[in-house]
């Protein structure tokens, strides 16, 4: 907490930016929150809401794990179990991971990183948040209806999701909630694209944007490509349920597999919509705490773009076992995604290499991300191969694979909260509690996922409430449940940390000696973000300003010609 490494250099005062502070005589109290169009307030609302969703989804997960700790689990009924895992998946994917990735930290950080006064469309941004909040309420309110919440799995495969097999309001509320959050995501995508394209500060060329902003821009493009497909699919599903159309039902001449095509055409890009923002967070954090520029910056950008490009052509690797898809095409496309992902992994290692690594909580979480993501990424490669997918499809191997990935994302998200939290609140979190939280989360994740891999290989199918015929699976399930409890403890520790360090450790403008523009302004930033901006001559303007003479250089070279100090800028 004490070794604040800020080293302000006596450099010339930079030119003022156009975004001047305005006097606002807006409303106060709760109305102030409801009417705010400030991207920082909206981002904070997103953060709090999505973390609450993480806790709700986590409670469902703990119930599921306790149910599975005995072969004839009787904590909940079969019907309740179906509702629980459906809502666990839905809450975690639709209401936590997505909004946290592209709504929460993105909203706060992207305008700051590119030197913008706000998002391009502040009111649209506010509407995104309210749509997300109302969508979450809609989806969760299914639990309070007579028939219970949706129970067809978070993928809602037709024809299980039709009105005969799943009557009741819970399923409709699920569709309605998803429509609202889907529109919220689309609007956020539009907003992020426009912000990045039009509101960058002078000198902030595309290839000087921080990797986090790059990843969010690519995420926004993917949102615009993928989410309309989901929304259209949901409308079709609703029409099948209530207006007597037969788009997904065999009886009327429809094709059930069409739902899977539509769902996964959204669903696989969605995986990268979730993952890319966290990749960006980890990239920033590793670079800052290693005191080095991002290794292979341009390679990183092209890797992100190629992940986006390939992600539109891999959806049917979720459908290999349907027997009606083009196997080799989807197999090679899915395998190829491993290449840019590998480039990213080696770039992260290259960033740490010969650096000066400071083990703050954020950095520990980022390292935890690297290791967990390595496990999840490598086991994903198996699933791109149709024969191995036939073998492991719908078993706990798949469950373990994507839980390794999403738990890596949770580690990355925690890293982001510890790293950017001080910027938005003005106060640091307690590092000791943070490090204890890291060890609970990291060890808990491995204890939770690794038994699931073995269970999957032994043939335990997913979405079963009991495994009476194979009681020997109890031991591994118990270990996994223990891991889930450790993860739960880590979440409690996070809340404890917020309470304990409430307004206790003032952060200052730049507590981490960071690289990017958001650390150039105050913590928390003023309305419209910046009183002044430095000259932008690389993707690390704040670092260049604080450490003149330490610009990034290619291997064995002197600083690149366009990275010369600010006061030597040739004006064209």
């Amino acid at each position: 907490m004490t070794d604040l490494l800020e080293a302000p250099a006596p450099a010339p005062i930079p030119a003022p930016v156009p975004a001047h502070e305005e006097e606002h005589h807006g409303p106060t109290g709760i109305l102030k929150w409801m009417t705010s169009t400030d991207h920082k307030v909206i981002g904070l609302s997103y953060t709090v809401t999505s973390v609450i969703m993480l806790v709700i989804g986590g409670i469902f997960a703990e119930i599921i794990r306790v149910q599975l700790s005995t072969p004839n689990g009787s904590l909940v009924s079969l019907a309740q179990y179906n509702e629980l895992f459906t809502m666990h998946g839905s809450v975690m994917i639709y209401l936590f991971a997505g909004p946290f990735a592209f709504g929460a930290l993105a909203n706060i950080v992207v305008p700051l990183q590119i030197g913008a006064p706000d998002m391009a469309f502040p009111r649209l941004n506010a509407m995104s948040y309210w749509l997300y909040l109302f969508g979450s309420i809609t989806m969760l309110s299914g639990f309070f209806t007579a028939g219970g919440a949706a129970n067809f799995g978070w993928v809602a495969y037709a024809p299980l999701s039709n009105s005969i097999n799943t009557p009741g309001a819970g399923a409709d509320l699920w569709i309605g909630g998803l429509l609202l959050t889907g529109f919220s995501a689309i609007f956020t995508g539009v907003n992020l694209c426009a912000t990045v394209f039009y509101l960058r500060a002078p000198g902030m060329t595309m290839f000087r944007m921080p990797i986090f902003t790059w990843n969010l821009m690519v995420t926004a493009i993917l949102i615009l490509l993928a989410f309309p497909v989901l929304t259209a699919g949901l409308v079709m599903l609703y029409c099948d349920r209530h207006f007597g159309t037969h788009i997904f039902s065999v009886a009327g001449g429809g094709v059930p597999v069409l739902w899977q095509h539509i769902f996964w055409f959204w669903g696989h890009p969605e995986v990268y919509i979730l993952a890319l923002p966290f990749f960006g967070m980890v990239t920033e954090i590793i670079a800052v705490f290693s005191r080095k520029p991002v290794f292979g910056y341009k390679g990183m950008v092209f890797a992100t773009l190629s992940i986006a490009a390939l992600s539109l052509g891999v959806w049917a690797h979720h459908m290999f076992t349907t027997g009606v898809v083009l196997l080799p095409f989807f197999s090679i496309m899915s395998l190829l995604i491993a290449v840019p992902t590998g480039i990213k992994m080696f770039n992260w290692i290259g960033t740490m290499w010969r650096g000066e690594i400071w083990f703050s909580t954020a950095m520990l979480m980022a390292i935890g991300f690297l290791i967990t993501f390595l496990v999840g990424g490598l086991t994903g490669i198996y699933l791109a191969s149709p024969p191995l997918d036939f073998f492991t499809h719908d078993t706990y191997f798949v469950v373990a694979h994507f839980h390794s990935i999403v738990m890596a994302l949770v580690l990355g998200g925690m890293a982001g909260l510890y790293y950017w939290g001080p910027k938005i609140t003005g106060y640091l979190l307690n590092e000791t509690i943070g490090k204890i939280q890291f060890w609970f989360l990291f060890i808990g994740t491995q204890v939770f996922t690794i038994p699931l891999y073995i269970l999957g290989l032994e043939g335990m199918p997913r979405r079963v409430a009991m495994y009476a015929h194979d009681p020997q699976w109890k031991l591994l399930n118990d270990v996994s449940t223990l891991g889930a409890i450790l993860i739960g403890v880590s979440t409690v520790l996070f809340v404890v940390n917020i309470v304990v360090s409430w307004k206790k450790y003032p952060a200052g403008d730049n507590p981490w000696d960071a690289h990017t523009l958001e650390w150039f302004t105050t913590s928390p930033p003023p309305h419209h973000n910046f009183y002044r901006l430095p000259q932008i001559r690389s993707e690390r303007p704040t670092w260049d300003y604080n450490h003149p003479g330490h610009q990034a250089a290619p291997h064995g070279h002197h600083p690149a010609p366009d990275a010369v100090p600010a006061d030597e800028v040739p004006v064209p």
Partner: protein, 130 residues
């Protein structure tokens, strides 16, 4: 503007290539149609940006040697606070509830949405320039 255009055009061309390969060998149409639409969704704004990038001077944010003073002036309109986003979303909430609990929810839903549309537009005309 050139880099933005090239990213979108590049993605669009790649989706077009994937579409061609997939359409040739696949046995279903939905995926091909969605990929083709994805291609259009990238090519359309991409070619628009490209067209503009050839006709405009490099903006300060595209100039690697720009100074902060070059960005002086009005950036855009950024309203300080507004109730209309909340009103609009609250209306949308009721419209979605109409899907589940009955058509009468459309009445408050559509009323709120239309009200928010007019209110927001009128507010937008007043501005709030930065």
């Amino acid at each position: 503007m050139k880099v933005e255009a090239k990213i979108l055009l590049g993605l669009g061309l790649f989706f077009g290539l994937m579409f061609a390969v997939y359409w040739r060998w696949s046995i279903e149409d939905a995926g091909g149609v969605m990929m083709f639409a994805g291609m259009l969704l990238c090519l359309l704004p991409g070619s628009y940006y490209y067209w503009w990038s050839r006709r405009m001077k490099a903006r300060p944010e595209d100039n690697p040697y720009a100074t902060q003073t070059q960005g002086a002036g009005v950036v855009g309109a950024f309203p300080g606070s507004s109730i209309w986003p909340f009103t609009m979303a609250f209306g949308a909430f009721f419209v979605v509830l109409a899907l589940v609990f009955g058509v009468w929810f459309l009445v408050p839903g559509l009323f709120l949405m239309v009200w928010a549309m007019f209110g927001g537009t009128a507010e937008g005309r007043r501005g709030g320039k930065v």
